[in-house]
Assembly symmetry: C2
Homo-oligomer: 405 residues x 2
């Protein structure tokens, strides 16, 4: 008999029938003899409806009131889920974030969990009840309702698993697990049985929609082993856990691609010490997140070129912001290319294996793909390339590292 | 500068535009120099939608989970109302029932307020903020969310006014105040400037939709003076307060009518000591509320007649339940008449004035109205009569007591 924390996302509890389906899944786990804490999100769409109401009143809603408003989405789901369990004879009790003792800092709309006081939950578990907890929300020291921001419900589940010393944490979502590549692109992509926190972190930041990196970071910090799996079937998912020795035998774990990228090229800007700082501060002030950056200062005549990628939506904004900055710096031209994809290969085994970059570049070269930018980390190589070639490139990289096996 | 508690009902905050309108009204009061605590209901319709969701899951939702679910209706309104105030430059902060320190007993879905700890509210008032409180909800000693049942938001406002020692409590609703009769029936009905708690209580139980009697009782117990007025215009409403000497000069304060009544007549039932008790216990077990009762035991042969009124919806049910009971009692017939109205005249002045009943009966007699049942209290006379004659009867009674003056 294990203590399991399960988390069901907005799609999994999207309507009354799906909530009933989740209740059946919970019943199945309970019938197998497990103790269960279940974290649920707001029904899909509800949070956006609430945001629309707030925006109909004011462009910039107060963040405290926003959290007061958004918290009701999960509060609805916990009550309905508890009712659905009662309806099939399972004792269950719902908890808001505050009732679950999830204490956060004061930063409304993106609060960080500071501590969890799970005594009431433990008491209800001991009494044989399934405990249903509202994801995404907490309370600060002065009793104000806070929300945790994007990926908040996953974080609630992982933090509760840590606080309760759960045996496992299951993140139920609308995908089957983590794959070696997007199966819609690489037909022979394989679901990974397990993956290390670091690999999952890289994938999370590379366009894999499975989980936000903050939840993976939290799990890594507290050693919470979790499984990503589907709420629409009973297939086992992917276990995410601390790196173990045998993981290193696999050089590349997977290939990720993000097709919503753009490239911004600044040319012939005077090459002075503060040039890059001035440019990137201006972009940050305009809330533009810059990703890959390459600077080339080898020009003659004291001029430099600077190229970076941004999310496609941000490209227009970057082109609007930059001319004034370049003028201030004494010259330079800016041009955006919005037909960019970002392809990455990830694997902890890379640390100890040479030649990974060479294998990737050869595979892409054989396709006639022009690599526009390159960045690397200890366990990742990322290249920017033409979006039109992205799917082919994923398949080629997937094959080059033998991931279909 | 006064401390005012205002309450806006579900219709008054029914959509975004109405919430903005409420914000303007609050601003107006604040601009006049008052401190404000504002209690709001769920937007009209929201509570019924939530109930429908629960019923789609189970016929008999757990009451604790029901309260968890229903509480979100008001939580939405408080956040949106606070945002609407911010949008017009008024500092405001929202409070759930729990945050407002509204402690109740353990009876989910119809909890009673036991105490209010309003320190945080007082602190925010002192800081110049408008405090927006979720009506209808509280928290019990173990931290569970409770709701107060029908009329709960009025009760929240009146209880907060008592706890905060507010100067006045304003109940904003969709009617202008309390009238001497329904103005749709008696065109010359007058809005009352003031009325005593006891008169308001009688009217509340007589089909006046203005307020539930429990809120009036609470106000009476704690001496909270409140005003019932419209949120759709700026007319003064009706002040409800302790009876004062001059009120007695007005013999009849108003005429109320409830046209959704039915009469059930039981004839020729054996007249034994427990007869009435057996009959009314059976009706209570079937959740049928009995109102006016007349028993006539003057039959020869040890038989009695028993007549009572019920809400029209309950008549069919009464006719279904009673035959088995009468069989057990040894005989009797039951017949229902669903064309009944109940007309009442109310006034604290009645206590010291004779002849009120005579005046009423003469007025009705002159119309040719047959009075079917009569009940009286210290400050009220009620008659049951043919529904078709009800409007005429209201006008005649209104004129007979000179209420148009």
């Amino acid at each position: 008999m294990a203590l399991i924390v399960q988390k069901y996302g907005g799609t999994s509890v999207g309507d009354i029938d799906r909530i009933k389906n989740v209740a059946q899944r919970i019943k199945k786990s309970r019938d197998e003899g497990h103790s269960l804490v279940v974290v649920v999100s707001a029904r899909s769409g509800v949070t956006n409806e609430l945001i629309a109401k707030a925006k109909a009143i004011t462009d910039r809603p107060d963040t405290r009131e926003m959290d007061m408003l958004l918290a009701i989405g999960e509060q609805e789901t916990i009550a309905l889920t508890a009712m659905a369990l009662h309806a099939i004879g399972i004792p269950a009790v719902s908890y808001t974030g505050a009732q679950a003792g999830i204490f956060t800092d004061e930063v409304f709309t993106k609060a960080k969990i500071q501590k969890i006081l799970p005594k009431p939950i433990q008491k209800d578990l001991k009494a044989g009840k399934v405990v249903i907890v509202a994801g995404f929300q907490g309370i600060n020291e002065t009793g104000q309702i806070t929300t945790l921001g994007r990926g908040g419900s996953d974080l609630t589940a992982i933090a509760l698993a840590a606080a309760l010393k759960a045996d496992v944490c299951q993140i139920f979502t609308d995908v089957d697990g983590v794959y070696t590549a997007d199966p819609r692109i690489a037909k022979d992509a394989k679901k990974l049985t397990e993956i290390s926190y670091d690999e999952m972190l890289e994938l999370a930041s590379l366009g894999s929609k499975v989980m936000q990196s903050r939840s993976v970071e939290f799990a890594k910090k507290y050693g919470v082993v979790f499984e990503v799996r589907s709420s629409f079937n009973h297939n086992p998912g992917t276990i995410v856990k601390e790196e173990v020795a045998y993981m290193e035998k696999v050089v590349v774990r997977g290939v990720a691609v993000d097709k919503d990228q753009a490239k911004v090229a600044i040319t012939n800007v005077p090459d002075k010490p503060a040039t890059a700082a001035t440019i990137f501060k201006a972009l940050a002030d305009a809330a533009i997140n810059v990703d890959m950056i390459v600077q080339n200062s080898s020009h003659t005549g004291g001029l430099a070129d600077l190229t970076f990628t941004v999310q496609r939506d941000d490209a227009t904004n970057a082109v609007r912001v930059l001319p004034a900055v370049l003028k201030q710096l004494g010259g330079g031209e800016v041009k955006a290319f919005d037909n960019i994809a970002k392809l990455s290969v990830v694997g902890v085994g890379m640390r100890t294996h040479a030649g990974v970059a060479a294998t990737l570049f050869s595979a892409l070269g054989a396709l006639g793909v022009n690599i526009q930018l390159i960045t690397t980390s200890e366990i990742k190589i990322t290249v920017a390339l033409d979006r039109a070639k992205a799917d082919e490139a994923v398949r080629a990289a997937h094959a080059a590292f033998g991931l279909e096996k």
